[in-house]
């Protein structure tokens, strides 16, 4: 962990949180005193070296806090007299956000599976099986000839013909397993099985649809969320809404010599799972890219260019900060 702390008229501290950092290089590119350097981003991402993504030069850092304000992953924490500038009125505010509407959510877990940062947890209670499978079944033992046709056919293994005497048998139905499909009833040569599926017979109208529903809660952890938009993309009921930190486009230079199969550095550093190698070439999915630029920085062939058109950071009151931040949206990718 890299950190700087100094006491003057007020106490100021800057702390880098490596777990949240992706090594995108935005902080290094905007630091007015050039006090931030990135570590070896790709080897760190691949777990080949145990180092921090960011190193802050304690001597030259002027503790202005711009890096912390502009980090799209909240990986830099800047405090004045113990208070985080993110909570202070005078400092910039991200309007990036991700939220899941628990009312609209159907708890399908598609977002939980897709989230590249494991930031979503779906806790769900399924309806009771007994409430969904409703019916009646009985075997007329007098008519039953113990032929075992029903036992062989039953798709739920719910019927067993049990031996009860020297040459006596009883056909037993396990009602916990039976789903009243009526296969046994149709196939019985002696019409010994009486069964009905209430759901089919009554066309559901007798039942309270509430009892068929899955209930639950979907929790999004803002500390690990990177606002990539995967949840929004994949949600079948539009319950997830994401506002990304930047607007714009990541473009791929088709002239450059991408060696996707052997290199895939871009894919390895991307925090959003936005990059796929298709036919040996890197393909960026714009819909889930946050335009952080980590991929562009690690690409040895300089195949990727980040063109940001807007930074969703409000309340930037300082003119000099505004000037520096505008370099992020000038389309240079740096």
């Amino acid at each position: 962990m890299s950190s700087v702390e100094r006491e003057g008229d007020e106490s100021r501290s800057l702390k880098h949180i490596n777990e949240k950092c992706v090594g995108c290089g935005i902080c290094a590119s905007i630091c007015p005193t050039k006090s931030i350097k990135n570590g070896p981003v790709l080897p760190i991402a691949r777990g080949l070296v145990d180092m921090d993504y960011v190193n802050i030069n304690e001597k030259s850092c002027c503790l202005c806090g711009l890096c912390a304000a502009a980090c799209p992953f909240d990986a830099l924490e800047f405090k004045i007299d113990g208070e985080d500038i993110k909570n202070m009125d005078d400092y910039p505010k991200w309007i990036k956000d991700a939220a899941i509407d628990s009312e609209a959510c159907i708890y399908c877990k598609a977002c939980e599976t897709a989230c590249p940062q494991d930031a979503i947890r779906v806790q769900r209670t399924l309806p009771n099986r007994e409430d969904l499978v409703i019916g009646e079944i009985g075997v007329d033992q007098d008519k039953c000839i113990s032929c075992k046709i029903c036992e062989e056919l039953c798709p739920g293994d719910a019927i067993t013909v049990q031996k009860t005497g020297r040459n006596e048998y009883e056909t037993v139905v396990d009602e916990d397993k039976c789903v009243y499909c009526l296969v046994c009833k149709r196939a019985c040569p002696t019409d010994a099985i009486k069964a009905v599926c209430s759901s089919c017979a009554y066309q559901d109208y007798k039942f309270d649809p509430e009892t068929f529903k899955t209930h639950g809660d979907t929790i999004l952890n803002p500390d690990s969320c990177v606002n990539c938009g995967w949840c929004q993309e994949i949600c079948p009921v539009d319950a997830a809404v994401v506002t990304k930190p930047f607007e714009g486009e990541a473009s791929f230079d088709d002239e450059a010599e991408c060696k996707g199969d052997s290199c895939h550095a871009c894919q390895d550093v991307c925090p959003c799972n936005a990059i796929e190698i298709v036919d040996g070439q890197s393909v960026i999915d714009q819909k889930v890219c946050v335009l952080c630029g980590a991929c562009a920085n690690v690409c040895p062939q300089k195949c990727i260019q980040i063109n940001r058109t807007k930074i969703n950071l409000e309340n930037v009151r300082s003119k000099s900060w505004n000037n520096i931040l505008s370099s992020l949206t000038s389309g240079t990718g740096k």
Binding site: L42, P43, L48, V49, K259, S262, C263, A265, P300, Q301
Partner: protein, 63 residues
């Protein structure tokens, strides 16, 4: 065209700050360990240039 290793800048793997990072980062098997040194297998090199970018000694280049 395969990369070239500047043996003077490279030195022994045991002295490398990345502990032979180029060998670990190359997935084509174009860089291998040989008697404590990094050795190039030119026919395996795919020209991806990952090693050039990531060598902590700036010992790998293309002439």
């Amino acid at each position: 065209m395969p990369v070239t290793i500047d043996t003077e800048k490279c030195g022994k793997i045991e002295n490398c700050p990345g502990e032979g990072l180029c060998i670990k980062i190359c997935e084509k098997g174009a860089l291998v360990e040989k008697d404590g040194d990094v050795a190039l297998v030119p026919e395996n090199c795919d020209d991806c240039d990952l090693c050039i970018q990531n060598c902590p000694n700036q010992a790998i280049s293309k002439v």
